[in-house]
Amino acid sequence: MVDTPVGDLLLDGLWLMGIGLGVVFSFLLILVAILVLMSRAVARWGPAEPLAQSLTATAPVPGADPVPGAGHARVIAAITAAIHAYRRRHAA
């Protein structure tokens, strides 16, 4: 490969560029189409989902794998309650 004249290498490179960009664009354009179709299908046939949950990307599914997450969630809940108590008292 090292002995190939630079001109030939550049031709190879142009080929690679054409094919490469072609594949990248084709791939991502097909993905666009798939995503559009998927979203429509989900909107039509998917389960109704409470909006509040769907907004937060990392919303944990209730009941699933509760071991470590649950504790943390409870800590947050406890803190939230404590903070509310604090705020309300100060507001009062």
Binding site: V2, D12, I34, M38, G46, P68
Partner: protein, 377 residues
């Protein structure tokens, strides 16, 4: 007397070559950039430290029996470390912005022009005496334009292992320099009015869509471009662990333990390719120049595609978000946000730029797949 001589000959000073000395300085320089300038410290600090370790005279830490050499053989030659990092990236990435507006994938595609232009550039550099890049070298260098560390390391370890050190250093350095490289190009290619365009809020994305997305992406990759399947596979596995909501333990493990441990080992192992003979060459200079070139071209192509999308949609798209298509998550998206705010203090583009930003990750993994499929080392 003889013994004193033996002792002296077992010191580092007595055996230090100028190449090693220079590379020790390069290592210190990378650590300085990591700590004082916050240049991608998670990678550049271990890489810089690895550079120091494997340039200590006599110690052979980067050699086949040395610790870093062994870590390289186990983790990088096999491709396992960059793939595990991609698993973690998948588990850390929220693709909602992309699912809500799939058209931004086109911006992620356009920015990969930087990769292929750099490939041509690397080959053209052979016209300059002292450079001698093969097609596989050129492809490995070009992937710097993908602005994605693990992808660059994965491809370079396959196509041009000897250049891996310089490529990794260039990729992470330029990713850290995104806030300096991108804004002038973005401003030069857009009008004030374009930069001020306010985009519509993104629709909420349902959990089911977020679960189906990684599966769709993986199956498309399996059907069209199997060569990209290792990278896309690990990215989508990580994302499915995250979004499925039923394996939080595993998702957290991918986001923390796995990515942290692998990052330390990966950085050190890259250092084993930063020996003087491999790094202190004109090739490295070429790689650094081509890397800057790659980032600039990728940014420009993304912004230009952003302008086309802006026209086609009747100015519903702010062309600045095209610059985020190079990847460099989340730095590039933050830069877009900042440049956007300069025009209009209430125009927050961050969420809009996240779409092309994560599209850029997919785009460069696809480009890497093409290069693996068509270029044999």
């Amino acid at each position: 007397m003889e013994s004193a001589l033996t002792l002296w000959q077992s010191t580092g000073i007595a055996n230090l070559t100028w190449r090693e000395l220079l590379m020790l300085l390069v290592g210190c320089g990378l650590i300085y950039l990591a700590i004082a300038k916050r240049f991608e410290p998670l990678l550049l600090l271990p890489i810089g430290f690895g550079a120091i370790l494997c340039n200590i005279p006599l110690a052979g830490i980067g050699g086949p029996d040395g610790m870093l050499g062994m870590i390289y053989a186990v983790g990088i030659e096999t491709g396992i470390f960059p793939l595990l990092i991609f698993l973690g990236v998948g588990a850390l990435t929220d693709f909602s912005a992309l699912i809500a507006r799939p058209s931004t994938l086109v911006l992620g595609a356009a920015a990969q022009f930087g990769i292929f232009a750099t490939l041509l550039g690397a080959l053209a550099l052979n016209l300059v005496p002292g450079f001698d890049f093969s097609l596989s070298d050129a492809a490995a260098i070009a992937i710097i334009g993908g602005a994605d560390g693990p992808t660059a390391i994965f491809l370079a370890s396959r196509l041009a292992p000897d250049l891996l050190g310089a490529i990794a250093v260039a990729a992470y350095s330029y990713m850290a320099l995104v806030p300096i490289i991108q804004p002038p190009i973005m401003r030069a290619l857009t009008t004030k009015a374009e930069r001020g365009i306010v985009m519509e809020q993104l629709r909420p994305v349902s959990r089911l869509e977020r679960i189906l997305f990684p599966l769709m992406l993986l199956l498309l990759c399996a059907m069209l471009l199997p060569a990209a399947a290792p990278l896309i596979g690990m990215l989508t596995l990580g994302n499915l662990l995250r979004e499925s909501g039923v394996v939080d333990r595993l998702s957290r493990s991918a986001q923390n333990e796995i990515i942290n441990v692998v990052t330390i080992l990966l950085g050190l192992a890259i250092g084993s390719k930063l020996s003087g003979e491999l790094f202190l060459t004109t090739q490295t200079l070429g790689i650094l120049i081509l890397g800057a070139f790659a980032f600039a071209i990728g940014t420009g192509a993304g912004v230009l595609m952003g302008k086309i999308m802006s026209r086609l949609t009747g100015r519903k798209v702010n062309p600045l978000i095209g610059a985020a298509g190079v990847s460099a998550v989340p730095m590039a998206a933050r830069v877009v946000n900042k440049v956007g705010l300069e025009e209009n203090h209430h125009n927050f583009l961050l969420m809009h730029a996240m779409g092309p930003n994560v599209a850029g990750v997919i785009g460069s993994a696809v480009a890497a797949g093409v290069l693996i499929a068509l270029v044999t080392p």
